[in-house]
Symmetry: D2
């Protein structure tokens, strides 16, 4: 295992450029704000990447050196190149790279391909959300109270078309009568995947200390395991587990 967790924060980074209000809220971009609190952690080594960089900032060599990839995308999922999605999938399934889909990442190409889902949900205007801790024993819930408030978040509502998660960590209550599975985990191949709902571009969610704690916890939980053998992307022919010399 690498000494530090090598984190790459990917951001579409268009809202913050095109919209003055959002630029004020996230002057360094959403990726910059996430990077700022992850960088404080002594066990993490953080870099960022954005849609408009060459190869979206995630050429093979970056992904090969990423332990956990965070993904914030919203309006431009369709612009993400399929070869990048395929390489992310390869890195998660056979390299154990962690993948954390943030907010509208539910509809991103990599999340949908990784877990096997449309990622559809219902959505609406910003409103009061209360997040409930449904799995206090999970490492991602470490330090999180039984519930906490977000004054305003974009409404994301059930039905949310995802597979049964391995663990359902947070449930969201929204004032207009809706609920949501707001934080949940999946394992695919030898990799770990987290979905976290709060994080709309027009609200200061990534400044909330509980959200920051959840993201830090998620990064640590999602890092690749210390594999006891080489995971290969193939289907080997084998002779006998009883006689290792059999051919």
């Amino acid at each position: 295992m690498a000494d530090k967790i090598r984190v790459t924060i990917w951001n579409e980074y268009r809202h913050e450029v095109n919209n003055e209000e959002i630029a004020k809220l996230y002057p360094k971009g959403i990726h910059g704000q996430i990077a700022s609190f992850l960088s404080e952690e002594s066990d993490m080594e953080v870099r960022t990447a954005t849609l408009d960089e060459p190869d979206h900032g995630i050429p093979d060599e970056v992904l090969d050196n990423t332990d956990v990839l965070l993904w914030w995308g919203h309006m431009h999922h369709g612009e993400v190149r399929d070869d990048r999605v395929e390489y992310i999938r390869h890195r998660v399934y056979t390299g154990g790279m962690g993948f954390i889909a943030l907010h509208s990442g539910h509809h991103s190409k990599p999340f949908r391909a990784l877990v096997g889902a449309t990622g559809n949900l219902s959505w609406g205007e910003n409103q009061h959300e209360i997040l409930w801790n449904l799995k206090p024993s999970h490492p991602i819930a470490a330090g999180i109270p039984d519930h906490f408030h977000l004054e305003e978040e974009e409404l994301y509502a059930e039905p949310f078309y995802i597979p049964n998660p391995d663990d359902l960590i947070l449930g969201g209550w929204f004032e207009e009568g809706y609920i949501f599975r707001s934080c949940c985990t999946f394992t695919r191949g030898v990799g770990k995947i987290v979905y976290l709902q709060p994080g709309h571009e027009s609200v200061p969610t990534y400044y909330n200390p509980y959200i920051q704690r959840i993201i830090k916890n998620a990064v640590r939980w999602a890092r690749p395991n210390d594999f006891g053998y080489e995971i290969k992307n193939e289907a080997p022919y084998v002779r006998s587990a009883l006689d290792p010399d059999a051919k």
Copy 2:
């Protein structure tokens, strides 16, 4: 498999006797009301049992002839005899009897023993609840819309201390800011278990057609499987699966 599903509806049956308002709502008892809509189903054969009957109405011979046991208890869980709890557990684990815990059955002795839980939750005054369908592919959700309303239900709120359910079917939204895992399934031994939250004694929940549909679906889902071998409650000594004559 028996031709009909042999259903036993167990009820504490004290509220309806001691409280005039509740008696008006459920003149035949909660068990009587549930029996009335299950009895309409041509594939079900329904009987009822109550706390104050000898052996609580569930002596061994009744449980031995029950495919699915529904359980409504509230204030008098402690009066239920431990030998009845043990026999229910035996019937579920090794006979495949289905067990459906209704409403305050989350704290009943059989539910807690069967699934392995305290069944603790938070609770409060009656209020508006909206139930969201989180697993439309599940047989228990057949015919259920994406959401439906209960004008008033007793507040049951997270954190709800249950094991990860096999399937989470309904999520509840409550107007005072709470959510709940309102319908979920478990498998234990060779039996199937359902927990269903709505059903307070002071509100007409068991007259709601969606609730009735869910209960009918749950009974059908929870019936014992057509086992292909005799399930025994023991740990047999075996010699060889390769040589059936080995001794």
Copy 3:
């Protein structure tokens, strides 16, 4: 729900054409043999489709009228057109079509895309397999003994790179020291998915009565649910669950 379950059995259908031994074993093709025992069931309506038919025999109108699709493919996964894979995924995720991947279907495009997996495993020569019933309460295990033998099956061995299944129904023992998760279920979108390992082209597995029973059970389990609302493939904007007239 349609009166009968509309089953489509898809087969690569090359081995049976190109190899004399296999042709003798499955003179009507593997799809023909499966069709022959499913057609005996009064609640099933069976058709078949093969790789070399136009649109691989599964144009949109066939898939739109299929409740459960069985898939046997082996050497020519790469020839399956991506638009067919996408339409299968659409039908499972938003239409609830069941998908049953048979044997080497672990590596088929639709299985891997549906569940989110490489589907990699280890494999080897035909040998004695014993199948153990790990979930006797599951409808797919109905009528199946605690274990049964296949004199010869192709070795499929762990590690098998699949997500945690919803239920693990059969485990396989192989004489050369290997084990396998031989029958397991997944839910994706509003559809149900089964993987069943036994079924190599060179052995008479599809004549085995337990395998036939498992496939019949799987078809019934995987049929689309009786949805209580229209499942759409979109992310609708919503105003308020409390005020249905809100705009």
Copy 4:
């Protein structure tokens, strides 16, 4: 979180006293051997307890100061006092104490009560076992190869009557045709539970470096979480999550 993980290893400790062969294999007792390799870990603080000590060596004050309890019992499950079982359950469900059931602990009172199971299985003579790594991404599988051998272990065979585990980590192959779910995890209340099959008293399993690694991994995985709120064993009455001053 305590600086070190406070581990208590409980052992029935009768075989090693009454049987000369076993005494030779485990001169310090099975608990002593496990303690010897766990004590080498700088993040663990280890103590032991046995059946014949007062309160079986686990009075309330010991359990209150235990983060992870390992349990090896075999022939004398029935002698374990019910009040100790109840207190273990309390500590796991509401304190998050980890519980690791070793080998014949599948039939121990605490394991069966904690997870909700008979724990029945089939068993037989010692034979060659191969353990397969089914979940390389799990922390308990860290450093474990895709498979490893135990020259001899007591046969434990399916059907094993346990609930669906949260994660299935190891599968066992036995030479006489049997398989077993050999290492699996459960969560109950706010606690984590592991079952690990290898560890018969007549074989040197606890000297095997992979088994030692698995146990070390399991202890670290099962330690209580850093809870963000006080977990209580009650069902509190609540007024409003929206208005914290409501009464």
